[in-house]
């Protein structure tokens, strides 16, 4: 898209979208590190994930201030307006993803010795497609691609399926050995958090689509399975 006549306006929009990208990169690392910390029982790494969350929050509130100022001073129209509104929504989705990743890392720190490697791996297996969803939706945002956003939106079912199978698998471990229940409860929450992160990625995909196309990805179109 061509430049604004007022070049400072273009610069402000670029700064906003690069902040969103930066935030996206940070939460991406948080999920990856949180699942690594879990699978390798690396408590130091888990601590780092927790420590990163306030930085994400700080970018979000800064982005919000930028958005208020843009609306007040530039009276955005057309694609600019949609970009700014999407940035506002996407930044809060990313902030939530950061929170959920932090929560996984916190729970990792609380796990006791009754957890076995299979349990850790089950969560890890689910974290991988979730990370991929986030990566894909951030790529869609960076590329301004409605098609990529739609693809992310359509593949949320995979994550829901993963969640259902992890849930069932986890129950079998708990049935095998009731001493695992405390840790297992934490891990069920981790799985739930990952499933929620998948939903947030879907929301981001909707906002990217809106930003690019100007229409809404209707909730009705997507085949959605009942979840637990």
């Amino acid at each position: 898209m061509s430049e604004h006549i007022v070049s400072a306006y273009s610069e402000e929009l670029e700064r906003l979208s690069s902040d969103i990208m930066k935030m996206g990169g940070m939460v991406e690392t948080m999920i990856t590190d949180a699942s690594l910390a879990l699978v390798s029982n690396d408590l130091e790494l888990a601590k780092k994930v927790v420590a990163r969350d306030p930085l994400v929050d700080a970018i979000e509130s800064d982005a919000e201030r930028q958005i208020v100022s843009l609306i007040a001073r530039r009276q955005p129209m057309g694609h600019d307006l949609r970009m700014i509104l999407s940035a506002m929504k996407i930044s809060s989705e990313l902030e939530r993803i950061g929170d959920l990743s932090k929560n996984i890392a916190k729970r990792t720190q609380r796990l006791d010795d009754h957890v076995n490697a299979e349990m850790r791996n089950a969560i890890m297996r689910m974290a991988q497609p979730v990370s991929r969803q986030l990566n894909n939706v951030l790529n869609a945002y960076a590329a301004g691609s409605a098609d990529k956003a739609k693809a992310v939106w359509e593949s949320d079912d995979d994550i829901d399926n993963h969640y259902n199978s992890v849930f069932r698998e986890m129950l079998t471990y708990l049935v095998e050995d009731p001493r695992r229940i405390t840790a297992g409860a934490h891990m069920l929450f981790m799985a739930k958090n990952l499933e929620r992160i998948g939903d947030h990625c879907t929301n981001i995909a909707e906002f990217v689509y809106y930003q690019v196309v100007g229409d809404y990805l209707s909730e009705l179109e997507r085949p959605k399975q009942e979840q637990l």
Binding site: S2, E3, H4, I5, Q75, M77, G78, H79, L81, G214
Partner: protein
């Protein structure tokens, strides 16, 4: 803000509406072309203007939006070597027909200009002038009623009712503009054309006019040319974007400003190099 409303009965007796109360097109333009000498200022523009709605014409300077607006009440007739082609149907009648009296036409299609232009007469006479020459008033009482009603409808009555004999030019800019709107209303028009009616006004006076436009839309077909896209977004239901004499895009105002279909529209409304 109820000061500009008369009693409902008084408002109803002179509703200028009638023919297209269904909100159908009040004016229908087909293949309009305007030439200044050899130069073509408007290229085959076809669009219609619905009753009881505000249509905004936007576009950069020289895009033809004012020229096009002036076709609607034959104001271009007054410009030498200006030629209008195509059909402009108002309630099915071609307004450019030789047997249409342009003076009568202009009483049906009122106009408000960029700079308030009250007559050098009293406030009362500014309003009364049109009804008098068109024979719309039966005696003084009737004329008084028309003046009051028009001023009320233009949201000016409360401010001027005690000094109707004062010259129209003694009012503030915003009041003068509302006086001009009252003057247009006084001859019971069906359509009101506005050519940048707020560009000489401060934000408060502008807001008053915009509030007024919103009220007038309940009974008139309004067409407004404005350089302020925010104003177009605020007051209109439909927006037409003109560029280099062409109608580029016409649509629901909401759609034009949030999701224009044409790149040229997008570039213009977002302030980009086109």
């Amino acid at each position: 803000m109820d000061t500009n409303q008369g009693t409902p009965a008084m408002m109803d007796d002179t509703l200028p509406l009638s023919r297209t109360a269904d909100g159908g097109p009040r004016i229908d333009c087909r293949n309009i072309e305007v030439f200044y000498g050899e130069a073509r200022a408007i290229h085959e523009v076809s669009m219609s203007f619905p009753d009881r709605a505000v249509t905004a014409l936007i576009g950069p300077s020289g895009c033809g939006k004012s020229t096009f607006l002036r076709c609607l009440n034959r104001m271009n007739d007054t410009i030498e070597n200006c030629r209008v082609e195509g059909q402009i149907l108002m309630d099915g009648e071609n307004i450019n027909d030789p047997d249409v009296d342009p003076v009568l036409l202009r009483s049906r299609v009122g106009m408000v200009f960029q700079k308030p232009n009250p007559f050098p007469k009293s406030i009362f006479d500014n309003i009364a002038y049109g009804p008098r020459i068109h024979g719309l008033a039966n005696g003084r009482e009737d004329l008084d009623a028309i003046v009051e009603k028009s001023l009320r409808r233009a949201g000016l009555w409360e401010e001027v009712k005690d000094r109707l004999a004062a010259p129209g030019t003694s009012l503030s800019g915003g009041q003068q503009q509302r006086l001009c709107i009252a003057r247009a209303i006084a001859v019971q028009p069906e359509v009101i054309l506005m050519d940048e009616p707020c560009s000489a006004l401060d934000p408060i006076a502008t807001a008053r006019i915009e509030e007024l436009i919103d009220e007038l839309r309940n009974r008139y077909c309004i067409v407004i040319v404005t350089h302020s896209m925010q104003q177009a977004a605020r007051v209109s239901q439909r927006t037409a974007f003109f560029h280099l004499g062409n109608l580029i895009e016409l649509g629901d105002t909401n759609q034009i400003f949030t999701n224009p279909r044409e790149k040229r529209t997008e570039d213009y409304i977002t302030g980009r190099f086109g």
